[in-house]
Symmetry: C2
Subunit: 354 residues, 2 copies
């Protein structure tokens, strides 16, 4: 039996130098060839790549990070793991990033700006290559951290309001940000409300929990739609800061039915609430949508299985995760994305509950 050629190193790892030696070039050249830096002879690239594959060379991420001051980590900050919306976002982003050799590090903020800032601070010490962060609203401390570290960053699931967008005369690169991919939460809230109006509903409640910034934007859309037809009434706003859940949806439904028997539709800010309401309606024997229509938001798992099936707004979260990751990848490479704000839209899914 032939002894396998041993590496010189104590660790036994195949290193860049091993490859360089075997290929008869300098380590610098191997480094450049493998990273696809231009300014390397194509023939050398070929040779280096083939040798490194033969030896089974795998670059050491720690050494690379130390030398280049940039890791192969991308941090993604999401509010919650208990809303499948964010899990879908995470999975899509992670899949996209992994395909390009990046590791995804997830942080859960629990909708808490302080926790977000803390996570940001922790993560920034690891010199992430990029940052994916949910929403556009962050503490001034967080904003400072992001700016000072000037790490590429893409915001998820929302877009700046029209009115707040800069109407610069000459838009230069620096004014392009913030980079974000999502859709207009306000428009989506307005669209569903208009749909309900189209179903001839007049007393449409907006029922929300959690009350995060995106929920409040949907509320704004609901208000806009109702005001435009002079049907807005502040009493129709049911805002509960508690975390969203099926159980809470059921509870809110009961309360609304008891206190506002004349209501003819309820637009819940998230499908879990709406699903809970549908289940409660069943228990309480309230006819949906005849007595009261019910609509949700996000088109989460199970909404199509409810009885009656839930009318809702389908949001492109997997697409958002993927597109945002791709945009981030561009920024990491120093490229300029075609659009700084990518609008992926939404879709009204008319089923039978409204």
């Amino acid at each position: 039996m032939l002894a396998r050629p041993k590496s010189q190193r104590a660790t036994g790892r195949i290193t860049l130098s091993d490859v360089a030696q075997a290929a008869g070039v300098s380590p610098s050249t191997v480094s450049r060839a493998l990273r696809g830096e231009r300014a390397v002879d194509p023939l050398l690239i070929e040779r280096v790549v083939s040798v490194s594959e033969k030896l089974g060379y795998v670059p050491d991420p720690a050494a690379r990070a130390l030398a280049s001051q940039r890791s192969d980590h991308v941090t993604i900050l999401i509010p919650l793991l208990s809303n499948t919306l964010f899990v879908d976002l995470l999975e899509a982003a992670q899949r996209t990033l992994r395909a390009e050799g990046y590791q995804t590090l997830m942080g859960v903020t629990h909708y808490d700006a302080g926790e977000e800032e803390l996570l940001l601070r922790e993560q920034l010490h690891h010199r992430p290559a990029g940052l994916l962060i949910t929403g556009l609203n962050h503490s001034s401390g967080s904003q400072r951290l992001m700016a000072r570290n000037k790490v590429p960053c893409v915001h998820l699931m929302d877009l700046p309001d029209e009115e707040s967008r800069p109407v610069a005369e000459s838009v230069n690169e620096a004014e392009l940000g913030p980079y974000c991919v999502g859709f207009s939460q306000t428009d989506a809230g307005e669209a569903m409300t208009r749909y309900l109006l189209g179903q001839n509903k007049k007393r449409i409640v907006f029922a929300a929990a959690q009350l995060d910034p995106r929920v409040m934007r949907r509320l704004k859309g609901w208000r806009r739609a109702l005001k435009s037809v002079d049907l807005h009434d502040p009493h129709l706003e049911w805002l509960n800061p508690a975390p969203s859940s099926l159980a809470l949806g059921g509870l809110m439904f009961e309360q609304i039915m008891k206190q506002c028997p004349d209501v003819d539709a309820i637009f819940f800010c998230n499908d879990d609430l709406a699903q809970g309401a549908l289940l409660a309606a069943m228990r309480l024997n309230v006819a949906v949508p005849q007595k009261v229509a019910i609509a949700g938001f996000n088109d989460l798992m199970g909404s199509d299985q409810m009885w009656p099936p839930l009318t809702t707004v389908r949001t492109p979260r997997a697409q958002v995760g993927e597109a945002a990751a791709k945009m981030l990848l561009q920024l990491i490479r120093g490229e300029v994305p075609e659009q700084a704000q990518l609008n992926l839209g939404f879709q009204i899914i008319a089923r039978q509950s409204a």
Copy 2:
């Protein structure tokens, strides 16, 4: 205005040497003091810690990983993100690990042994400090990878069968593994079946999807219970390899009702299937539990909100995530956990569907 004392380094980062200089000791001592290595004068430790806090020193993870050949990453491999079971596991593990300064890196195997092996290989290149992996069944390639890299590893959500456990006369450390924390899937399957028998059910279907190893262990428990009272019938086994979902649960329910009208109970291997069945029963106007009882597994979100509320097995996934992370932390520190196999049990939640 006083200029802030600048670091010598080009990167501007506060380094170990900065702390050493300010504290009047050598870098080696700072390194040892900060990592809580014994064999350092307590007074020096105090001084070093206070100076490093004053300077806002944060160790560079990349440099540390490169020098020590161990990163501060822990890899967790789970089958899916679409089953909240695994999300709960992930969140608990990540929370526990983060508190001790470890970063959690997640890999999604999609119940595919090949993908698991690939993820393992990728992750191992990053020299993780430890590994959390779902289940006990892995490809021989994966097992080899884990063994060769001798990275501390804890298995999640299952325990070795009694019969397969080594009955060593003198158990030494090497024979303690595999480390795992979970509960007996077989016993849980058996317990729920016995509960249904106790409800005077005679024709109890086991309806399963996905058919991963843990589902098959539940099946085994169901068989054991039915055989013990001579009520086992192979026709009662409904095994569908498709991914689990609400919709599939509904479909399976319809099929079972059509083809086996004499069935008086269905034990679904997961709550999503059972929830789908409950919803289908409602559509089809089948009385639950009078005509047919329905039971699930895991006690997932929403099961208590169904109508009727779902009888199920509550599994301690958050506790598993936390306990496994703690056990892994011990292994990383070189400590020996009290038990190599930690049984966290399960609980029958008798609600109204069975």
